[in-house]
Amino acid sequence: MSATPMVTADRISKSFGANNVLRSISLEVQAGEVLCIVGPSGSGKSTFLRCINHLEKIDAGRLFVEGQLVGYRQKGDKLHELKPKEAALQRRDIGMVFQRFNLFPHMTALENIIQAPMRVKRVPKAKATLRARQLMERVGLGDKADHYPAHLSGGQQQRVAIARALAMDPKLMLFDEPTSALDPELVGEVLDVMKELATSGMTMIVVTHEMGFAREVADSIAFMDGGVVVEAGPPREVLGNPQQDRTKAFLSKVL
C-alpha cells in the first residue's frame, strides 16, 4: 500500500434537497484495479460515479483522484470550489462512458473521437485522426469510422463512446451502467471491449448490473443500497459469501 491510490473517497455525502443520496461513502481504488459497484436502482451508485469527475458536487467528505482533491481546493479546514477551467483540467485524466452513450449525433464516429484531443489538448488533426483510427480498430469498428451514430447499433455506439473516452489517454475510466440501454444480444460486444481494457491494466470503476462481468473482471465489488456501501471486498467474498442480509436479498434476486 505504498503507492497513492487512484481514487480515495473519504466519508463523502451528497443530497438532492431532502433526499440523502450518498451517506458517508468511503472507498479506495488502487491503480490498475477494477471496481464494480452493484446495487438496486436509486442506491446512489451513479451519483457516486458522477462525483468522481465532479459532474456532481459533494456536500461533505473528501474525494481524491491520485491524491489530488477533486473539484475543490482546501484552505485551512474549508473547501473552496474550483473554477470551471480548473475542474476541466482535472477531468482530462478521467474518461467516462454513459448509459445512453451520449455520442454527438451531428458528427461521424471519427469526429466524435477527435473532438476532445483537438479542442482540449490541441493535438493536430492528422495526429488525432490517426490515433482515433487505432482506437476504432481496438474496439472492433475499424470500418465504421465515417458512420454517423444514428447508423450504428447501440452496441457499436457504446464502443465508439469508449474509444472517445480513451482518446484522451485517461488514467481512470468511469462506466455508468454501460450496457443497461442495450438489447441483450449487443451486451456481449461491449463487455468484451471492457474486459480487454481491464486486462490492459486500465483502472476502472464500473456501475453495472452484469454480475457475470463483475465476478470475472472485478478486483473488488462494492454493494450499495440506500446511499451507503453495505459490503465491499473481492468478488468471491461479496458474491459468494455475502455477510449482510441486504446483500443476500439483492443477490438472491439477480444471480
Binding site: 470551471p84 455520442l103 449525433p105
Partner: protein, 301 residues
C-alpha cells in the same frame, strides 16, 4: 369492375370557385380603379425599385440585430443568475406585449425625450455631451426599432433550440474536459441550429412585411412609403398598392424558395445522408425530432 365512389360535391364546389375567380379577374381587368396601365408604368419606376432596395436592407439589418440580441437574451434567460434571468424576461414581456407599431412611434419621438447623451456623474454637470444623432437618423431608428422588437421573438426561437439539445450532450462534452464555451460552440449550438433555422426563415419573411410599418416613425423611403408618396401626388392609390404588393410578393417568394432548401438541408439532421440501418435507441436524434420548433409565437403588432 369496381366503380369508385363518386364525389359530386367536390366537383360542384370546384366549378363554383373557378367560376367566381374568373368573374373577379374579368371584372378587375376592366374596372378603371385598378389602373393596370399605371401598374405597368410604375412597376419598374426607379423610385420604386430604389425603395424596394431600402425595404430589403431594412430587413437584413433589423434581422441581423435581432439575431445577435436574441441570442444574448436567450443565454440570459438560461443563466443561473436570477437578476439576469428576470431582466431578459422583463424585456420579452415588454417587447412582445406591446404592438410593434406603437414601439416604432415611440422610437420616432425618443430623440425629443433624450436630445443629448451625457457622460459624467449622475445629477452633476456632465463631462461630455453628445447630441443624439442616432435617433435623429430615421433609417437607423427604423432598424433599431424593428430589431428590438424582433429580438424578443428571436430569443424564444434560440431558447427553444438550445433547450432541445439533450442534457447528456453537455454532460458528455463536460466529462471530456471541454470548457463551457467549447461545449456550446462544437456540441450544443450545431445541434440547436436544426431547430433554430427553420423558424428564423419565417421571421425573415415576416420582417420583410413588417418593415412597411416604419411609416409610424415616420420613415417614408421604404417600398410602402414611396408607393404611398407617389399615389398622394397622382391620386391613383390602388395601382401603387398593387405595385408595392407585387414587389413584396417577389421578395417573399424568393425567400420561401430559399427557406425550402434550408429546411431540407437541416432536416437531414442526424443523417439520412447515408443509407444504413437506423438505430433503435438514439437519444440524441429522438430529442431533436421531438423538440418544439418554437414556431408558434402568435401574431405581432
Amino acid at each position: 369492375m369496381a366503380v369508385p365512389l363518386r364525389h359530386p360535391w367536390r366537383i360542384s364546389i370546384a366549378v363554383v370557385l373557378v367560376f367566381l375567380l374568373a368573374l373577379f379577374i374579368v371584372d378587375a381587368s376592366q374596372r378603371p380603379d385598378y389602373g393596370w396601365a399605371e401598374v405597368g408604368k410604375y412597376l419598374f419606376d426607379r423610385r420604386i425599385s430604389q425603395a424596394a432596395w431600402v425595404t430589403l436592407t431594412l430587413t437584413i439589418y433589423a434581422m441581423f440585430g435581432a439575431i445577435v440580441l436574441g441570442l444574448l437574451l436567450a443565454i440570459m434567460r438560461l443563466s443561473p443568475n436570477p437578476v439576469v434571468k428576470s431582466i431578459a424576461w422583463l424585456y420579452l414581456w415588454i417587447f412582445r406585449g406591446t404592438p410593434v407599431y406603437v414601439q416604432l412611434v415611440f422610437w420616432g419621438i425618443v430623440a425629443l425625450i433624450y436630445p443629448v447623451f451625457t457622460i459624467g456623474i449622475p445629477f452633476m454637470t456632465p463631462w461630455i455631451t453628445i447630441p443624439n444623432d442616432v435617433f435623429t437618423n430615421l433609417f437607423i431608428t427604423a432598424v433599431i426599432g424593428l430589431a428590438l422588437n424582433e429580438a424578443a421573438y428571436m430569443s424564444e426561437i434560440v431558447r427553444a433550440g438550445l433547450l432541445s439539445v439533450d442534457e447528456g450532450q453537455e454532460e458528455a462534452s463536460t466529462a471530456l474536459a471541454m470548457s463551457w464555451g467549447q461545449t456550446m460552440r462544437y456540441v450544443v449550438i450545431p445541434q440547436a441550429m436544426k431547430i433554430i433555422i427553420p423558424p428564423t426563415g419565417n421571421e425573415v419573411i415576416s420582417m420583410l412585411k413588417t418593415t412597411s410599418l416604419v411609416a409610424a416613425i415616420p420613415l417614408s423611403i421604404d417600398l410602402y412609403g414611396v408607393s404611398r408618396g407617389i399615389s398622394a401626388v397622382t391620386f391613383t392609390p390602388v395601382p401603387l398598392l398593387i405595385v408595392a404588393s407585387i414587389w413584396y410578393l417577389l421578395f417573399t417568394s424568393v425567400l420561401m424558395v430559399g427557406q425550402h432548401f434550408i429546411e431540407k438541408r437541416f432536416s437531414r439532421g442526424t443523417g439520412r445522408r447515408q443509407a444504413g440501418p437506423a438505430s433503435e435507441s438514439d437519444p440524441g436524434a429522438a430529442a431533436v425530432t421531438a423538440a418544439p420548433t418554437g414556431n408558434d409565437l402568435g401574431g405581432k403588432g
